[in-house]
Symmetry: C2
Subunit: 237 residues, 2 copies
């Protein structure tokens, strides 16, 4: 399973056309495993490689003085993480394995000539980082403009939609291997309050979250309660 050439085009990688995906896949030189909580790269590091999430969840975390770091983004299978390090080099956040993960590694030294030679591919990867930016804008919006209940529901809807694009949800049940602390850090609330809101959502029959498993009894009702409109995700297909 650690042959980079065996990685399927899942999730956001399906925004590339199949030929482009072949080219990108050929550039991966190995697949790394990391255990939970591994800090894969640190704020300020000079990176010479980027990662594609193959399995598990990777987070971008800004370390905080008091308390745990805040999560500014989560990457699911099929997402590039640190692709922005290619043109930018220096990062402003840590990259952390939230769960045990498998990531494919592509060196910038290998990527550079490929992109120099292929304008369309270059633009496709640019677009991927722009989708990322769009998601960031949504996180800013969610954290700034929504109250806890809607905010959390909206977060769960986003995760469901992205995991579904990666083939990891059927629209009703899916694995979301995050602790309540993680979700609280991502949604900008305390784990205590998050726990209460989670109960509220469960009591209202909107969703149940238990043991890393999430169930939406009624996806449409959940989306509505969460003010969720997935346009900003620019999902493939």
């Amino acid at each position: 399973m650690d042959d980079p050439q065996a990685i399927p085009a899942q999730g956001m990688m399906r925004r590339l056309d199949p030929a482009q995906w072949e080219v990108v896949r050929a550039a991966f030189k190995r697949v790394d495993h990391h255990v939970e909580k591994t800090v894969i790269s640190r704020r300020g590091d000079q990176l010479d490689a980027s990662l594609l999430v193959v399995a598990g969840i990777v987070g971008r975390q800004v370390p905080q003085e008091r308390s745990r770091g805040h999560l500014v983004s989560l990457q699911v299978p099929g997402d590039f993480v640190d692709l922005h390090a290619f043109p930018l080099k220096r990062l402003d956040h840590d990259v952390v394995a939230i769960t045990p993960v498998r990531v494919a590694v592509v060196c910038h030294r290998a990527l550079r000539p490929m992109l120099d030679a292929d304008v369309a591919l270059s633009r496709a990867l640019w677009a991927l980082t722009l989708v990322d930016a769009s998601v960031h804008r949504h996180w800013a919006l969610r954290n700034g403009a929504m109250r806890a209940r809607v905010r959390l529901a909206n977060f769960l809807c986003e995760m469901e939609a992205r995991l579904r694009a990666a083939g990891l949800s059927d629209g009703r049940r899916f694995a979301l291997p995050l602790t309540q602390d993680h979700m609280a850090d991502a949604c900008g609330m305390t784990n205590v309050h998050l726990n209460r809101v989670l109960r509220e959502l469960r009591e209202d029959g909107l969703c149940t979250v238990r043991g890393g498993e999430v169930e939406f009894p009624d996806l449409a009702r959940m989306h509505h309660a969460a003010s969720f409109e997935p346009g900003y995700l620019y999902l493939p297909q």
Copy 2:
């Protein structure tokens, strides 16, 4: 003043090297003026041109059902806005003139062959959109992890730093032509609460905001109170 060839390389445009800037500048075909509150482009529009802010402030706003739209980003002179529309085409937010603005217009039809021919320039513009993304991450962090006082102070510090890079602040006084409603929408709080926090900052001698003019009596103290570290802005030089 409306000759695109007379636009100086200010703010983020100084991340381009002078030769690149000449190339980009040559692509602008005109300079548009918009009055305050003009909606320059709408969510969902197909765009065939991008804009460079020459003067004034442009905002990206997500319309809300009840109440005013939330501001997910502000662009100051020297910032590209909608550059991400070039690879992405469809936008997920409105673009609004917060103040009277002057924007230089570059058609994607003109941009495309330029970028196809110039890999380095292509990568430089990619990097610009990634700085944008970094700022978005910071907005998510600010809205999610900071309390009102620090949040507002941090916002003001960001504006000061970016305007300084554009030659529009001396580190002590600067024009910030935003209403309290705008700042509240950007910081995710009500205008009433923002007003109180603003008074608090003034009473603590950290900063005064009045009539579109901001003054920081002591920049270092303000930065400290705001937990402001400008690394995420990737400012030129």
